[in-house]
Amino acid sequence: MSVLTVIPVLIPLCCAVASLLARRSIRLQRKLAVAGTAALLFAAIGLMTAVLHHGVLCTQSGSWPAPFGITLVADILSSVMVMLTGLMGLAVAIYSLASMDEARERSGYYPLLHMLLAGVNGAFLTGDLFNLYVWFEVMLIASFVLLALGGERAQMEGAIKYVTLNLMASALFLAGVGILYGMAGTLNMADLSLKLRDTGHHGLITCVAMLFLTAFGVKAALFPVFCWLPASYHTPPVAVSAIFAGLLTKVGVYSLLRVFTLIFTQDIPYTHTIILWAAGLTMVTGVLGAFAQNEFRRILSFHSISQIGYMVMGLGLFSPMALAGSVYFLVHHSVVKTNLFLISGVAEKLGGSFELKKLGGLYSSSPVVAGLFFVVAMSLAGMPPLAGFVGKFILARAGLEAGQWVIVGVALAVGMVTLMSMTKIWGEAFWKGSPGTALPQPPSRKVLVTLLVPVAFLAALTVLTGIGAAPLIHVALRAAEQMLDNSQYIAAVLGEGMR
């Protein structure tokens, strides 16, 4: 059973190595991309089922008992995230088959993609703070390369900002880990949780918590340290943007959720109020940023920021309902934002540009694409009965229960502006008449179908998790309970006697 916690890291790792060794055969790499991500999804479903039925699962890697070795832990939150990785990985792998250019494929696109997934899953599953740093770096370097792969000028410019700010964040993270080890003498997160409980040394712990908040805040793209995201997300090929949008910032949010429910709970009124403020400001600045844009992918990038605010809002509110809202929102946003990026790629293939000004007429010429976009965009905007509404609703409810009227007002208002900028894309790219520039070569039917398969699949998912929200909310609530009462997690990692 416990082997299930390793497999989600091992599958992409092995696929990466295999693709690397099969450097010369793109066909093999393509097959491996789909097969590997499908296997990953399958494994993630297995892990999820096991965790839901048997509680928190652990692997003590190398058989070294916790807290001495590195423990891999899968609680519900982790397994939900791993599931997302599988889903997004598969969707993007299929999409890549029809959209990635051969030059990039030859230059190691597929190994990088697998390695990115391995890093992301490692981050989700590790129970060790330094190991989290390592997986973060795996994920980062993979994303650095994916972002820059191809060497176009815009890519270079975006990559410099992305790389520099993320390295800065990593340095902060590392410093935080070091100080924490010096203080508590351990790196295992469950052990840290125990050892930092009731310590009285609030000052230094809170200070370190702030280092982590900033470091993860950069990775999650929180206000005011999100600037790398809008500078870079729209520069690489669409498939890369899509997987970034679906997973990378989520790792930051996941880490915030993890450390601020497990380790830094000594001074909740202080730390979590700051988090709530950051959440509100992130929502507002992100959505305003999007409102000012006129390019498909830039609008989406800025919305990623604003939506991160919602996820973090749940953490700031710190109640079961609120945390469940965060988890639900994480899932919802990955599914939807990845898909919107994928659709932006389809629109580009059909209309020849990402600029709204140069697009148009897709509502008449491509009703299927238009319909898919509309559903997904409305989900992002939080319209019922789609998943985005459910997430917003739960967070609003939790906020009102906590008496935090302002943040709820902000969240709802931001939803409105989101709706407006989604209708902007809709109005310009779809409703508006075609600007009349003929495409050099419209995509073949086969290409289009391959592109639309993952799009339709993810769109169906956002409808299903909206109308049939109950199961996912149930899971999210259970995940929230596990986060708030971390005794299960700690007992699973350290053994029953260590509570």
Partner: protein, 139 residues
């Protein structure tokens, strides 16, 4: 002129570097050293050769492409954790065997050493990949 000095020196230094690297790799488990350090030393040897002669000749000597080396290194490191799974223990659990040749060798061999070799190969591969690419950039 300087090329001549360099290439002559390299002819002597290169085997020295490689021997030293193997030495560092093997004793790393007990004394300072280990796969990473050894890899850097070995890579330095090859890099010197590449600088002294040409990337092409260095690659001939190496026989395997540096990028393939990275692949094999990662593969070795990852795979060294797999026998543990087959044995029903957690990933990366060390498995050890006594290697005893009377009079010659008496040491324990285990998957961690394979792992370290993986590290070694990766490091060599990475350094040479970058150095070769940069050198080719010069031209």
């Amino acid at each position: 002129m300087s090329d001549l000095i360099l290439s002559t020196a390299t002819r002597f230094l290169m085997p020295l570097f490689l021997t030293f690297a193997v030495f560092l790799l093997l004793r790393g488990h007990n004394e300072p050293g280990g796969g990473f350090i050894a890899g850097l030393v070995a890579a330095a040897g090859f890099a010197l050769y590449s600088l002294a002669y040409s990337p092409g000749r260095m690659l001939q000597l190496l026989r395997v492409g540096p990028r393939t080396l990275i692949g094999w290194g990662l593969l070795l490191a990852a795979v060294s954790g797999l026998p543990a799974l087959a044995a029903g223990t957690p990933f990366l659990t060390a498995l050890w065997a006594k290697l005893h040749i009377p009079g010659l060798v008496n040491l324990k061999v285990g998957t961690p050493l394979i792992f370290d070799v993986g590290v070694f190969l990766t490091v060599v591969g990475v350094v040479l990949t970058v150095v070769v690419a940069l050198q080719e950039e010069e031209d």
